[in-house]
């Protein structure tokens, strides 16, 4: 009865105080849309500029080289390299600095002759080592060059290998790769609406009235948690629906996706409780709340891929953040169609972390806001 009243009141107030709600539920879909526009919804391509200086040689392989570079393709048939010919290397080097071009390949005078005489041909690559696209672009470029060199020198390859892509990762576009992180981001954004919905009772002192009633901490937190869970599920669903509309590939079970989503929502609400315990006003939430928001955005792999530095065996520092496990679980579900058994570790960690954060949150919330002075 009391819980139903709290749910009804929290829902009404959530909709009437709609700015925080809009920010929470629309941020992630907006990010999905921006990502889609940035990636074009297709696989990543690497911009390669070719400067062919060996123009006087009897053997002109320039067009063959261009075709070879263009023939490096993904499994879905899309070219990996976007090849441009250039005569102005200085301009291209400037573009590399501005990251408008990923790498420059220059073919020096005598390159073709080396192929004919069997001596080792030389060529040069220019790129910015700190640009992550350079490394991958360089591998694709060298693969194409090797293929061309083998063709003319008739040399046997030093080794052969066959790539085996796991799950449906071969069919993944860059958009597909980043989308699960943004799905989790849609839940992380709850940190604002959930914290604000609770802090209003502190700031407006309505908590004083509630403290005098029969309402228990359990009633209050369960009622508010259910409402924020609904907001989180809606936000997540909206983000995923938009992503699917824009071509996102989902292999896995929707039930498992919802399970991960639900647990992550609960863990974020638990983090909100801790945050609210140390704030007294909505303004403080908007200022102090940025700290956990940014930590959860940037150190869980939801927005940017993270290196994994284990401080003790099997445990990295970001493992204490629930969304870290949620991002991994969603990637497994979307890419490998993972079963519950295959994500049991992530589910286990989400459950444990949610319980730990909730208990911590309840302790501090009671101490700071609910107990008598």
């Amino acid at each position: 009865m009391r819980i139903l009243s709290i749910i009804r009141k929290a829902l009404i107030m959530q909709f009437r105080d709609y700015w925080a709600l809009l920010l929470t539920i629309l941020s992630a879909p907006f990010f999905i849309f921006i990502y889609y526009i940035m990636t074009g919804g297709s696989s990543t391509t690497y911009s390669v500029n070719l400067y062919y200086a060996d123009k006087e040689s009897l053997l002109n392989i320039k067009s063959e080289l261009v075709n070879e570079l263009k023939s490096v393709k993904y499994a879905n048939g899309e070219s990996a390299l976007n090849v441009f010919e250039t005569e102005d290397t200085a301009k291209v080097k400037e573009q590399i600095k501005n990251r408008k071009v990923d790498l420059l390949i220059t073919i020096p005078v005598g390159f073709a002759d080396s192929l004919l005489t069997g001596s080792t041909p030389e060529f040069m690559l220019f790129g910015e080592a700190s640009n992550p696209k350079y490394s991958v672009g360089a591998i694709f470029t060298v693969t194409a060059m090797e293929s061309l060199v083998k063709k003319y020198t008739k040399s046997k390859p030093l080794y052969t290998f066959k790539e085996n892509f796991m799950g449906n990762s071969i069919a993944k576009s860059e958009f597909d790769i980043y989308a699960p992180g943004i799905f989790i981001f849609s839940i992380i954004m709850l940190i604002l609406s959930a914290s604000l919905s609770i802090i209003r009772d502190i700031e407006d002192k309505t908590m004083i009235r509630l403290k005098l009633t029969r309402m228990t901490v359990f009633d209050y937190l369960l009622g508010n948690t259910i409402v924020q869970w609904l907001v989180g599920v809606f936000s997540f669903g909206l983000t995923m629906w938009l992503a699917i509309l824009l071509g996102f590939n989902n292999q896995g079970s929707i039930f498992l996706v919802l399970l991960v989503c639900s647990l992550t929502i609960l863990s974020i609400i638990a983090i909100c409780l801790i945050l609210v315990s140390f704030c007294k006003t909505a303004t403080m939430i908007m200022i102090v709340g940025n700290f956990p928001l940014f930590i959860l955005m940037f150190f869980t792999g939801s927005m940017i891929p993270l290196p994994r530095n284990e401080i003790i065996k099997g445990f990295a520092i970001n493992d204490i953040l629930p969304p870290t496990h949620a991002v991994i679980a969603l990637n497994k579900i979307f890419t490998f169609g993972a079963s519950l058994k295959e994500i049991r570790y992530e589910i286990f960690m989400l459950v444990i972390l949610t319980i730990v954060y909730y208990l911590t949150g309840i302790y501090f919330f009671k101490r700071e806001h609910l107990l008598k002075e």
Partner: protein, 316 residues
Amino acid sequence: MDILNETINTSSISLKAENLRKTFNGFVAVENLSLEIEKGEIFGLLGPNGAGKTTTIKMITGLLNPDSGRVIINGKPAEREKSRLNVGLCPQELVLWNHLTCFEQLVFIAEMYNVRHSVARGRATELLKKMGLSEKSKKLVKTLSGGMQRRMNLLMALMHDPEILVLDEPEAGLDPQSRIMVRDFIHSLSKTKTVIFTTHNMDEADRLCDRITIMDQGRMLITDSPENLKRKAGKGDKLEIIFSGSSPVLHDISNLADEVELKESSVYFRSKAIVDKIPFILESLKKSGITVTGMNLSENSLEDVFISLTGRRLRE
């Protein structure tokens, strides 16, 4: 003895506070405060800012734990949750949900006390009508005027039908019309409820209260009915006698009252229960050959009592 299960035999006493003490970081906010408030009584707590009124109210309602002493509600120690539920609080500041309508928040707060939804709806409708807010029933509280919000603040304390109503400066910020409405409303409540309220408005306290306690610096200075307070404390009633012709000699009349002030055509006498002394004063003036042409009497006010007990020094 288990203090929580103790029942104190105080059948006509609605609320009893025994030796309450509260300190904040060494500052004594309330010291050794004891009260007994009878059922159906309207009891006023008066005092300058910082006197300890709000702290006392918070201890009575259970929002603050006293350092020592205890509160007994209807014969039961107030540590018991059920005892506290008999109390309704209208805090000094507006404590309302700005994004709920008047009706919604009245029903919501009632449901937090386990009042059934249908009963809560009926009670909300009735109270809104009594407070002249029926037309605002579906309006968000934040859209109401300050006076209307004050009235809503008061109604919120009544939705669970408590036996004891505690009002912390309920008339603050109200226009005269609203103040009269709230005063009549509080008066009507006293038939069925015990009302405890704090105020700075002496006139309001004088009109409404059956008994008043004046507090200062955390201590209770005096408790009595407004009439008795005015009779017992303060400098007393003020009598102005207007005369014509020759002026009396101050020395001859200075023993007629506690304070005597002679002016060009009038003389002021101030003393407790001066009404009883009027014939004697007039007789004395007549004997002195003074021709009395007029007379004005101002009764000792509660404000006079208050100032005489607490002084004129500003507290904040």
